[in-house]
């Protein structure tokens, strides 16, 4: 028996073009949307970094190559902002995570009024960040807020001063507000992950003789690890870009002690109206965060493959 010979020996050109372009046509709507909505603004923004764009100077706008980056390399304020960003992000994420985990563990156990407690715990997340910033700025203000007096009474402060105006302590103000505001994110995600752990694993462990600490270390923590990795990654990127609280509470001061890269970009763009320089700083921040994200994703991948 022979098979039917040459089914597609001669095909008209139009048919061949149509066949070849078929997959591209199918994916075109999604691709066009992504390019229009994401890539075009991104490329435009990046292009500003290589142009001299000052809103108050009508003759600006020309291409200046890497001039912004050379200036950036000598900008001490930028490097200070970079160090402040590390401190701000590290302390905020760490404290948010620890308190979020503790809250999630507490809320995982059944108790009377748990539904109400859960709702209350998640409330800060719903407060607009500017409102949260204002609120905390007032709390730290000794004229109207109680916190300086309490901290003085506890011996933490020598005098009931506003820590937001103390160069040594100012950063703790926005960090405290940020921790309060961001705990719910960790509490929600970790609680969801906790509730997905099969109960009979804990029962098997209790029969095997594991105490609460061992159960936490050998069951809870391994189960939470992927969630912890991804939430910390998300929050780190998020918080290092998050200037709202700082702009509202200290505006980068005193003496640039709370200036982070994100608020520095804000200052350059909207106070000095130098969009080109601001874009250059933003580009550097973008590259740093991309590198960081890659690192975490790789780490998570190796952990998951090992596990």
């Amino acid at each position: 028996m022979t098979l039917a010979a040459h089914p597609h020996a001669v095909r008209p050109l139009r048919k061949r073009i149509a066949d070849a372009s078929e997959p591209y046509l199918y994916s075109a709507p999604a691709l066009i949307l992504i390019i229009a909505v994401m890539l075009v603004p991104l490329v435009l923004g990046i292009s500003y970094a290589f142009r001299d764009i000052q809103l108050l100077n009508p003759f600006s706008g020309g291409f200046i190559g890497l001039d912004h980056f050379r200036a950036l390399g000598e900008d001490q304020a930028f490097f200070r902002a970079l160090r402040n960003t590390l401190w701000w992000t590290g302390a905020s994420v760490f404290l948010q995570f620890i308190f979020g985990l503790i809250l999630a563990l507490l809320l995982d156990k059944p108790f009377a009024g748990r539904g109400l407690a859960q709702a209350l715990v998640f409330l800060p997340w719903a407060v607009p960040s500017f409102l949260a910033g204002l609120n905390w700025a007032w709390l730290f203000n000794p004229v109207i807020g109680p916190l300086p007096h309490w901290m003085h009474a506890l011996g933490i402060l020598d005098a009931p001063n506003n820590i937001l105006s103390d160069p040594q302590l100012a950063m703790w103000g926005p960090i405290a507000a940020n921790v309060w505001w961001g705990i719910p994110f960790f509490a929600i995600t970790l609680l969801a992950a906790l509730q997905a752990i099969p109960r009979d694993l804990y029962e098997a462990a209790s029969i095997d003789g594991a105490g609460p600490v061992q159960r936490f270390l050998s069951i809870t923590l391994p189960f939470l690890a992927p969630t912890i990795a991804i939430t910390i990654l998300l929050r780190t990127v998020w918080i290092s870009n998050f200037a709202d609280l700082i702009v509202v509470m200290t505006n980068g001061g005193p003496a640039d002690r709370t200036q982070i890269v994100a608020s520095y970009i804000f200052t350059q763009a909207f106070k000095r109206l130098d969009f080109g320089y601001a874009s250059a700083i933003a580009l550097v921040l973008l590259v740093l965060l991309l590198a960081y994200s890659m690192l975490i994703v790789l780490l998570r991948q190796t952990l998951l493959n090992k596990g």
Binding site: D200, D208, A210, S218, G307
Partner: protein, 355 residues
Amino acid sequence: MASIDIQDIRKSFGTFSVLHGVDLTIRDGEFIVLVGPSGCGKSTLLRMIAGLEDVTSGDIRIDGRRVNDLAPKDRDIAMVFQSYALYPHMSVADNMSYSLKLRRTAKEKIASAVGGAAAKLGLDPLLERRPRALSGGQRQRVAMGRAIVRQPKAFLFDEPLSNLDARLREQMRAEIKKLHGDLHATSIYVTHDQIEAMTLADRIVAMHAGVVQQVGTPLDLYDRPANLFVAGFIGSPGMNFFEGCYLVSGDQAELRLANGVTLPVPQRAGIEPGATATLGIRPEHVVLDAHGALEAKVDLIEPTGFGIIMHVSIHDVPMKIFTLDRAMLDPGPAVRVDLPQERLHLFGTQGQRVE
């Protein structure tokens, strides 16, 4: 190894009562199967013995020691879960040695215990694998390995074979029986599968609605079910029941069904003439006989390969017959049957067996 004593155990969740006073004595080395439909309280009873549920009232003693208030780890028992509950982040060897490590057992002792259990269960080539790289049957084996390395006083099994397919279940059933033959460990096994109960148990505890219905050897329950529940639950296909009025005339007794049919039954002293009674006969005990006393209309034929299940009706009262006779694959519209007197079970008004 140990005996387990359960005295008047009760359990309620809030106002909802699950166990209504269970008494049970389990001898050293005995294999006990708790069997019953879902929600009968068998798993709750097992979990109370394990210490995973609080006891509402009553006493549990293991080897004479009251354990009501002991933590699960101090009761010296091991449990195999339906989901296996293997620690997913540990290798098979770590899963099996976890309890020994927590008890600070010497390294050499752990190695020999794990090695011994692995050899017994054929787990040697899998010791370095993670649970998720194992098949269902292998996971099941690891769960049993984890239980036996500790040499506990008693093994508790909570529907351990329910997540396996039929073929594997059969194989693991035989392995569990063999393992019990080797170890002679006191075992309590919970299942809703009466075949598992019949094949594994030294004694079966049949439970229903939080009450023990009957305790006895598998053949006790099959031959002399204590009540209608046990009679219907044990055996497959299930026992046929006919409810009617028990009548005596002279030395003859009969059961008159609602539709007027009368079936001759043996005379029993334990039941008043005129009372409502239920007659039971297992499908495999109905005799097909061309000269039988009763005519039965054939409704449906179910060949199982091994035998044939015939659904018939006697004057519209349905009945099942199990036969090995291949000729019954095509029996025609009706057959004649006999219900041999010595195979009949009689149950009184309350559903209790009457002799």
